[in-house]
Every structure is written in structure tokens, then in C-alpha cells.
């Protein structure tokens, strides 16, 4: 058996420049984003995924296939980011297309809704968002991603 390795244990000599703990948080977030990228690439509505901005990998940008989504817009994309915490992660899956419509499932504090997890949408950038609380059975990034893409198809359809 290998020794226990929790999320805050040391992650190797090359990351020891200033402390180690925070480097592991960086690795954890990077690891989750990479796993979300792999999962996005498996989904039939996704054409390609890049680390954003400019290969910094703070979030993912997925280019979606409008035909597979059954929408009239010519371009559609999904922005994905994740801030890990064992029992209280924050994340955002935000869709937009060139009709001006955008919407997203976010788990983060927002003055417009009670609780962290909510859905928000607006018909164009000139309008204000409408918010509603939602809930997911899923708890982990890959399953939440598939849940979100399923709900997105429902919202667009």
C-alpha cells in the first residue's frame, strides 16, 4: 500500500519554492479542469476545447456544434471553470451564442438568489439576468458537466 496522500500533502520536490500547500491547491484545480476538458471532449455537442485565457487554463472554452444542439445560431460556446473545495466547491458553466442569448449554471454567491447553486439567463447583453435556484443530484465535476449539458439542451430546445 502507498502512504496516504491527501489534497494538502506535499506534491514533489519541484514545487517546493514557497511552502507547498498552495501549490497542491493549484494542482488540484488544474487536475479538475483537465478532467473536465477530457469529459467535454467526449460529449457529442462539443467540437473542441481550449485552456483559457491563452493557454493559462484558468477556465475552459468549449466550441459547441449548433447543429447538434438544434439551434439556429451560427456559433455557440460554453465557458467552464471550477474552484475546488471538498464540500463547498464553486463553479460556473456558462453558455453563449451569437444570437445574443446567454445562460449558465453557477455555484457561487450571488445577491440575486438564496443559496449558491442557481441558473441565470438573459436574451441579450442589454438585458438583466433572470435567476432561479436549481439543484443537482450530481456532486463531482464530470457528472455535473453531463447534467449541465443535458439541461442546456432542454433550455435551448
Amino acid at each position: 500500500m502507498t502512504p496516504p496522500a491527501g489534497p494538502y500533502s506535499s506534491s514533489g520536490s519541484a514545487t517546493s519554492t514557497d511552502g507547498g500547500n498552495s501549490d497542491d491547491l493549484g494542482q488540484t484545480r488544474h487536475r479538475i479542469l483537465r478532467e473536465l476538458q477530457r469529459e467535454l471532449e467526449r460529449h457529442p455537442v462539443v467540437r473542441r476545447v481550449t485552456g483559457s485565457p491563452d493557454n493559462r487554463y484558468r477556465e475552459l472554452r468549449a466550441t459547441l456544434d449548433p447543429e447538434a444542439l438544434g439551434i439556429e445560431a451560427e456559433t455557440a460556446s460554453l465557458r467552464v471553470t471550477w474552484w475546488p473545495a471538498p464540500d463547498d466547491p464553486e463553479y460556473a458553466f456558462h453558455y453563449s451564442d451569437n444570437s445574443g442569448f446567454d445562460c449558465g449554471w453557477h455555484r457561487e454567491s450571488n445577491p440575486h438568489v438564496d443559496g449558491k447553486l442557481h441558473y441565470q439567463e438573459r436574451q441579450s447583453a442589454e438585458e438583466s439576468y433572470e435567476y432561479e435556484p436549481v439543484s443537482f443530484a450530481a456532486e463531482t465535476p464530470p457528472r455535473i458537466l453531463w447534467t449541465v449539458l443535458d439541461r442546456l439542451a432542454g433550455r435551448l430546445g
Binding site: M1, T2, P3, P4, A5, G6, P7, S9, S10, S11, G12, A14, T15, T17, D18, G19, N21, S22, D23, D24, L25, G26, Q27, T28, R29, H30, R31, I32, R34, E35, R38, E39, R42, H43, P44, D54, N55, R56, Y57, R58, W83, P84, P86, P89, S109, P111, A137, A138, E139, T140, P141, P142, R143, W146, T147, V148, L149, D150, R151, G154
Partner: protein, 184 residues
């Protein structure tokens, strides 16, 4: 590998998104994906629930991943828990960097990331992500600003991890990007 009937035979009730996920993955894919995206050590039961497989199936796949040194286990508690092996993750991330970028691109990326770190130090007058996070809890910080600071601290940690990978990759680029010499 195409998903098979056997992979999906012990499925919990369907809910939205789960059916499509199962259509496009095997049980092993899902166990691997859940196990590699946790942010704290988790039991086979909990990983199985999220991966839409029975606990025994989850455990079988998790043990394969432990054998490959992709996961580590903690056997000190009453339940065995699994967590990604940080050494495996780091090595894999290094490999992906040298596959995705040539030496010049890595040099350029390192310069951009260092500039980001310098601008955070200047903007917030702090020297580390931990210090930035501690300023978010200050009484004078508004709720919005506190969230922004915590997210920036997280970006900083991510950036620091990427920088450490890139520095490692650049110092041994030929070794990491090379392929095994052919043997006859």
C-alpha cells in the same frame, strides 16, 4: 473501447445527463474520471455513486488505478479512501505540456505567467496567494471584492503550479519530449 452491456448492468435510476454519460463512456471511464476529479479522498461507495456503477465495480476499477500508481489509498480509517497520486498527476501534466507546446511557446507562456504574478503582487500589495486570501477576510473588504480576491488567489495558485511545470519542462525539454530510441 466501446461501452458494453456489462459495464452498465448495475445502474441506479436514470436522471438527467446520466443516461447520455453512460452512452458515451464505459464504467471504467467514469470511475477514472470521478476518481481523478475529487478534491478530497473518497470511498469506493461514494465514487461508485457518482460514476453510476455498483460499489464492487467501482472498487475493482479503483484498485487497478492504484496498481498503476494513478491513485493512492488511505487505509488508516474505517473505510479505505482513494485520491489521485500527486506524483502521477505532475508527471502526466508535464508530458501534456511538452506534447502541446514547443520550447519557444513554453518560454513565452512562462513569461506571461510571471507577468501575471507580478501584477497580482502589485495590485494587492501581497507576496503570496495565502496572503491575498487573508486580505479577503478583512472587515473593510466588500462581499464582491472578497469573492474576487479568493478567485484571484486560486488563479495565482494555479499559475504557480503551471509555472513550476513549465520550468521543469524547459530544463529537461529534450528528455521529456523525446521518444524512446528504437530497439531492433
Amino acid at each position: 473501447m466501446a461501452p458494453t452491456e456489462e459495464d452498465n448492468e448495475t445502474a441506479p435510476p436514470e436522471i438527467s445527463g446520466d443516461a447520455a454519460w453512460k452512452d458515451h463512456t464505459t464504467a471504467f471511464d467514469r470511475v477514472r474520471s470521478v476518481a481523478l476529479s475529487v478534491s478530497a479522498p473518497r470511498s469506493a461507495s461514494r465514487i461508485g455513486d457518482e460514476a453510476l456503477v455498483a460499489e464492487n465495480t467501482a472498487r475493482r476499477h479503483l484498485e487497478r488505478l492504484v496498481d498503476l500508481h494513478i491513485l493512492t489509498t488511505d487505509t488508516t480509517g474505517s473505510t479505505v479512501t482513494y485520491y489521485p497520486d500527486p506524483v502521477y498527476i505532475r508527471t502526466r501534466d508535464l508530458r501534456e505540456l511538452v506534447i502541446e507546446h514547443d520550447r519557444d511557446e513554453l518560454t513565452e507562456l512562462a513569461a506571461s505567467l510571471k507577468a501575471d504574478v507580478e501584477s497580482w503582487k502589485d495590485d494587492y500589495n501581497v507576496v503570496s496567494p495565502d496572503e491575498l486570501r487573508s486580505t479577503a477576510a478583512g472587515k473593510k473588504t466588500s462581499a464582491n471584492e472578497a469573492v474576487k480576491r479568493c478567485h484571484t488567489a486560486s488563479d495565482w495558485e494555479l499559475t504557480r503550479y503551471r509555472l513550476s511545470l513549465i520550468e521543469d519542462a524547459l530544463s529537461r525539454y529534450d528528455e521529456y519530449s523525446g521518444t524512446q530510441p528504437a530497439t531492433v
